[in-house]
């Protein structure tokens, strides 16, 4: 990276240290844009707070729990996921065009964006680093079983695997299979069994405990 004047770095070895380099670079960018009246630092705080506290995988878990509990909602989710998900209050940025894909005893679904990092923010929040990194993006489409094994998930040999490469503006939410032994659980309890990874497809829903 090009040299810049980093008077915030007190460690003296910052040139190949991406962390401190970026810290200074981004601070400088924010300063320049603020001086020009182009950004409101408080808006940045509000964006960060939204994704730290309001929009995250608990949203998606509520969708899944309702799909497990309510056959009408499940049918709606299959037919018009955007509207069904919006009915729970989850809308907006990177959730404008939703599709729900359902795991079955025959088929396991896995979502990737090989081209960049498209991800259903409205239901899962910000994507994890591995989802945006080259290893996952390149290998999910050619060696999904190898990738899943790295998550500790080994599927039966005969199970079909369907990869959804998010190449357009549709955003995919995996609805995992409902675990055995969860009959009679309410939606709130069911939602605690649904991890972020289960809704990407790199995990299954948790077992009832």
């Amino acid at each position: 990276m090009e040299h810049h004047h980093d008077d915030h770095d007190h460690h003296g070895h910052h040139h190949d240290n991406r962390y401190s380099d970026m810290q200074a670079r981004v601070r400088a960018l924010e300063t320049v844009l603020s001086e020009k009246g182009l950004i409101d630092p408080a808006a940045i705080d509000a964006i960060v707070e939204t994704y730290e506290t309001k929009i995250g995988p608990r949203n998606g878990a509520r969708v899944v729990a309702k799909a497990w509990s309510d056959p009408e909602f499940r049918a709606w989710l299959a037919a018009d996921a955007t509207a069904a998900i919006a009915s729970l209050g989850f809308t907006g940025r990177q959730g404008e065009h939703m599709r729900a894909v359902f795991n079955t005893p025959e088929t396991h679904n896995l979502v990737v964006c090989t081209l960049c990092s498209c991800y259903p923010w409205a239901v899962l929040g910000l994507p994890p680093v591995w989802y945006k990194a080259p290893a996952y993006r390149s290998r999910a489409v050619i060696d999904p079983r190898g990738v899943l094994a790295e998550f500790g998930l080994v599927l039966a040999e005969e199970k079909k695997i369907r990869i959804w490469d998010s190449t357009a503006e549709l955003r995919y939410l995996v609805i995992p299979e409902r675990p055995a032994g969860t009959e009679g659980m309410n939606e709130e309890t069911l939602s605690t069994l649904v991890s972020r990874d289960a809704m990407i497809g790199t995990a299954l829903a948790g077992a009832a405990t």
Binding site: M22, K36, T50, Y51, P128, A135, R162, E169
Partner: protein
């Protein structure tokens, strides 16, 4: 293989450094200027030199692309960021994202579906072949899925065409289809026999078989 194993981080935090929070907020704030669209933004990220792209964290990729866009559209130059202060009067944005607007902007998102009077050329079940095309410009047809034979699974609606929109050539909406390929069609000998991969393809990516 390729980029090595995926390394999921247990209990991964939303951000790994303070600057990542600012990078997210700056990117969204500058997107609100209305000076570029998501396709131009993706293209700016793709055009980071490959060695840099592959070694950068995703928020670093965002910041590098953001600097390109700010410079291209007359808002701020890299020289200004190097110096840490404003040096010239910026272009006038359509809007500045202030804190009070954040909730509304995130909740609205940026829908990319557009009405289209024509009827879709393809229907579910049709056999199609993706085009073989290697443009220097932006495209959302992944390289691994070019010149491959697959089946239309769904007509997903009509959407802004990124290949044109990224370069200021208008939205030119087209029908988008989910196209499914057998693993063997894409990866050839040794492909996982249980693998199916789908992409979402704009109509002009497809030829009837």
């Amino acid at each position: 293989m390729g980029f090595g194993p995926v390394s999921p981080e247990p209990n991964e935090p939303y951000f790994h450094a303070e600057w990542e929070k600012r990078a997210l907020g700056l990117t969204l704030s500058c997107g609100a200027f209305g000076a570029w669209n998501i396709d131009e933004s993706r293209h700016a990220r793709e055009n980071i030199p490959p060695a840099t792209y592959l070694s950068a964290s995703y928020y670093e990729i965002w910041i590098r692309a953001l600097e390109t866009l700010l410079e291209r559209h007359g808002f701020a130059s890299r020289t200004e960021v190097d110096g840490g202060h404003r040096a010239f009067e910026p272009a006038v944005p359509k809007r500045v994202l202030t804190a009070d607007l954040v909730a509304g902007v995130l909740a609205r998102g940026g829908p990319c579906d557009r009405p289209l009077e024509s009827t879709p050329l393809f229907k579910p079940g049709d056999r199609v072949r993706t085009i073989n095309s290697n443009p220097e410009t932006h495209t959302r047809l992944p390289r691994y899925a070019r010149a491959k034979t697959g089946t239309i699974e769904a007509v997903q609606g009509s959407f802004v065409f990124p290949d044109a929109n990224a370069h200021g050539h208008g939205e030119n909406p087209q029908w988008v289809y989910t196209v499914v390929f057998n693993g063997e069609e894409i990866w050839g000998q040794g492909a996982d026999p249980t693998l199916m991969v789908s992409i979402d393809a704009w109509e002009s990516y497809l030829e009837r078989l």
